[in-house]
């Protein structure tokens, strides 16, 4: 009983029981049908990668008080630049770096527009989205492919564990990076000076300023770093997942990432859990289409992630408490 009260006070009861339920379902379905369970879970991890990276970008920005609605555009343009650099150089590592640099540049643009020009941040983000859509549409030439995709790395004997091995330890590097980043960011945000300063700037910039924290530069740095993470998500799409570029290939993932961030209450680990849920929805969607057993039109399965986003937002968006100073430009006195 004591344990349950402890969990309740820490507000861990719901996530933990949901996790346990999920675990039971996974084990039962693995015993029944190991092959497709493994496929679905593996696909869940892969599908959740761009979403969690986007959500991490959102967390970085919003914890410092910048609303970033341009994640979608950051992902799209980085996916394109990463892809083009790969076509020109053939080097995957440089391409990923180029993608991240693109995301960071767009982050710089957003920071400039919302911190220095004090523009409405939602309009600033929308500008980035439309700009990315236009630029990629104009410079895109059909028929190009990358010289190879990023290949999975098997982590030695860990990959031999049944179910967990192939799902968790046989992934390409950006997927690993995403999972590592979740924990790194969680630590940095809540256990380091830099994280404390970031949160202070996002909650009460005036107080932070009084204590000698540079609000402007904190917001700039966070938005740029966040942009780089969104760029990584873009690079994941072209270089690790698909191997080619298509117009508007991000398909709303940047916005789903924002919902995931809200669902996860602006904490990296919470967002990771939420992104796994979305990854799972996506994975089931492909699995349904693959099996074709249910006689549901594919369009209805296709709306699943979007419906889920709305339900999540409607169910949790109202109760969530965003960083207090979010969205308002800081005016120095």
């Amino acid at each position: 009983m004591n344990f349950i009260t402890y969990l309740r006070t820490k507000k861990l009861l719901l996530p933990l029981s949901l996790g346990l339920l999920g675990l039971v379902i996974v084990i039962v379905s693995y015993l029944n049908n190991p092959q497709s369970t493994q496929a679905v879970l593996g696909s869940t991890i892969r599908q959740s990668t761009p979403i969690i990276l986007g959500a991490l970008c959102g967390i970085m920005c919003e914890r410092a008080g910048i609303v970033n609605i341009g994640i979608e555009g950051q992902m799209l343009l980085s996916a394109f630049i990463g892809f083009m650099v790969n076509v020109w150089t053939g080097n995957l590592f440089i391409s990923v770096l180029a993608g991240m640099a693109t995301g960071a540049l767009l982050g710089l643009l957003l920071a400039f527009v919302s911190v220095t020009l004090k523009l409405d941040q939602i309009i600033g983000g929308t500008v980035i989205n439309i700009l990315a859509l236009g630029l990629t549409g104009y410079f895109y030439t059909a028929g190009l492919t990358t010289s190879g995709k990023i290949q999975p790395i098997t982590l030695g004997s860990l990959a031999q564990i049944p179910l967990i091995g192939p799902v968790l330890f046989r992934n390409p590097p950006i997927t690993y990076t995403a999972i590592i980043l979740v924990f790194v960011l969680q630590f940095v945000l809540f256990k380091t000076t830099w994280g404390l300063r970031t949160r202070a700037v996002g909650e009460h910039p005036r107080a932070a300023d009084t204590l000698g924290i540079n609000v402007f530069s904190t917001r700039y740095i966070n938005t740029i770093l966040g942009g780089a993470i969104a760029g990584l998500a873009g690079a994941f799409l072209t270089l690790e997942a698909v191997g080619s570029f298509e117009r508007a290939m991000t398909n709303g993932r940047g916005f789903v990432a924002l919902a995931v961030m809200i669902f996860g209450k602006w904490s990296p680990i919470g967002a990771w859990g939420a992104s796994l849920l979305f990854g799972f929805a996506n994975a089931m969607q492909t699995q349904f289409q693959f099996m074709g057993t249910f006689n549901i039109p594919h369009q209805f399965i296709g709306m699943l992630p979007y419906l889920l986003t709305i339900i999540v937002l409607a169910g949790f968006g109202g109760r969530a408490r965003p960083p207090a100073a979010e969205g308002s430009p800081y005016e120095k006195e």
Partner: protein, 447 residues
């Protein structure tokens, strides 16, 4: 003594006000075209040649001009939808979804019902499209009011859902059953639902009437403000102005038509007697923007909407039902978008086909901001964007520039008009005093 007070109401004062309102968007457009030219040079194209082709494709002949108006029509509706949302402090990115839901509904009413009198069928289909658009807009409004889910994300998600729904319907229950049809699309709507297409000769006359109407409305809305007429009742004044504009417009238009028979005869290939799609939809769009302007600026409901947009807290203490207003604003915004979809279906496309009206929602954002959220401004912004869209085909053909450059220029226009600080710095303009600034970013939860 009165001479010493600067005249607040005269014609020249009004022109000056107009200039103050117009100069920043104008400079933003020019800056965007300039940067677009740099991009064109970077991709090895002569920008002058490209822009000349663009201009020719938009205004070069009467067929091109009509095409521009045709393209501008749904854009006006999309721009009005977004602008109406902005006025209430809501960012409706979902105009796209509401528009295609409206378009599909109007197509469905158009082909499923037969045997109705023409006018009734047209109106019924228009009404159906508007209604479904309104209902689709009500969803994010209700969600925002009752659960606090931010409309920016919900409307975008609803766009994707709308694409899936319409895709399913056009490829399933409502698919064109003709054996020759292999794509996902509905059958052609009944002739009674089609917004009619008068002869081109008439078109030219009406076109001039229309353009003059716009020009005249600008002049007269200012001129009548002069206290010469001493009319106190503002509603009466409004209708009087409108009637005056109409009469003058028709008068000047007809006069021009008879004085110069070859005024707008196209130089080549098209006889002026050929049947050309007459943009009656465009006139419906202009009428709608006048109505929207009237509701926003001249009714207490519009005043309440604007108050909610400027300061929801003050609105609440003034006794305005803010939550209800949010829902209502989204409903009207959706209604405008849905009507736009219906007008395009019944006036241009004649059926619903997925992918035929893509991107209009995003264009609506550019147009609303470029037009300063003012219904008249929206008309001109939509004409500009419509001209670019119509001209881009010719540009692609003549100058070999991918038509997607238009999207880039449009994004730049949006950037510069949103970042008006940059533009003001470039043209050294101080902000107009008392300008309404609407704050959209209010966090994700309840305000």
């Amino acid at each position: 003594m009165t001479e010493e007070i600067p005249k607040q109401d005269g014609f020249f004062f009004w022109i000056k006000q107009l200039w103050l309102g117009v100069r920043v968007p104008l400079a933003a457009v020019l800056l965007a075209l300039l940067i677009g030219a740099i991009i064109l040079i970077a991709s090895g194209v002569n920008p002058l040649e490209a822009y000349a082709a663009l201009f020719k494709g938009a205004f070069g002949s009467e067929r091109y001009l009509l095409r521009t108006l045709e393209k501008a029509t749904p854009l006006i509706f999309a721009g009005l939808a977004v602008a109406f949302g902005f006025k209430a402090g809501l960012f409706n990115i979902g105009a796209q979804g509401q528009l295609i839901m409206g378009a599909l509904t109007s197509a469905a009413i158009g082909f499923m019902i037969t045997g109705l009198p023409t006018l009734i069928h047209i109106l019924l289909a228009l009404l159906g499209g508007a209604l479904v658009g309104a209902l689709y807009g009500a969803i994010p409004g209700t969600l925002k009011t009752f659960t606090g889910a931010h409309e920016v994300i919900t409307t975008i998600m609803l766009n994707y859902i709308a694409i899936n729904i319409t895709d399913y319907l056009a490829d399933g229950p409502l698919k064109d059953p003709a054996p020759s049809n292999i794509v996902a699309r509905t059958p052609k709507i009944a002739d009674t639902a089609i917004i009619p297409t008068p002869q081109a000769e008439l078109t030219i006359g009406l076109l001039i009437v229309l353009l003059v109407m716009i020009a005249a409305s600008i002049l007269f809305f200012g001129v009548l403000r002069n206290k010469t007429f001493k009319i106190k009742n503002r509603t009466l004044l409004f209708f009087l102005r409108f009637a005056l504009v109409l009469v003058t417009g028709v008068g000047i238009g007809l006069g021009l038509r008879f004085l110069t028979p070859n005024f707008y005869a196209s130089p080549v290939e098209f006889s002026p007697y050929q049947a050309i799609p007459l943009p009656i939809g465009f006139m419906i769009a202009i009428l709608t923007s006048v109505i929207v302007w009237f509701i926003l600026m001249r009714t207490s409901f519009g005043f309440e909407i604007r108050t909610v947009g400027l300061n929801p807290h003050a609105a609440k203490y003034a006794g305005i039902k803010v939550r209800w207003m949010v829902v209502l604003a989204m409903v009207i915004s959706g209604l405008l978008a849905g009507l736009g979809g219906a007008v395009e279906t019944q006036g241009v496309i004649y059926r619903f086909q997925p992918g035929f009206n893509v991107g209009l929602g995003f264009d609506g954002i550019t147009i609303a901001l470029l037009g300063r959220n003012h219904p008249l401004g929206v008309i001109f912004a939509a004409l500009l964007v419509g001209a670019m869209k119509a001209g881009s085909n010719v540009m692609q053909f003549d100058a070999g520039v991918p038509s997607q450059i238009i999207d880039v220029i449009q994004a730049l226009m949006l950037f510069f008009v949103a970042a008006d600080v940059i533009v003001r710095w470039v043209i050294r303009a101080k902000p107009k005093s008392g300008e309404e600034k609407i704050k959209l970013t209010s966090g994700w939860g309840n305000q």
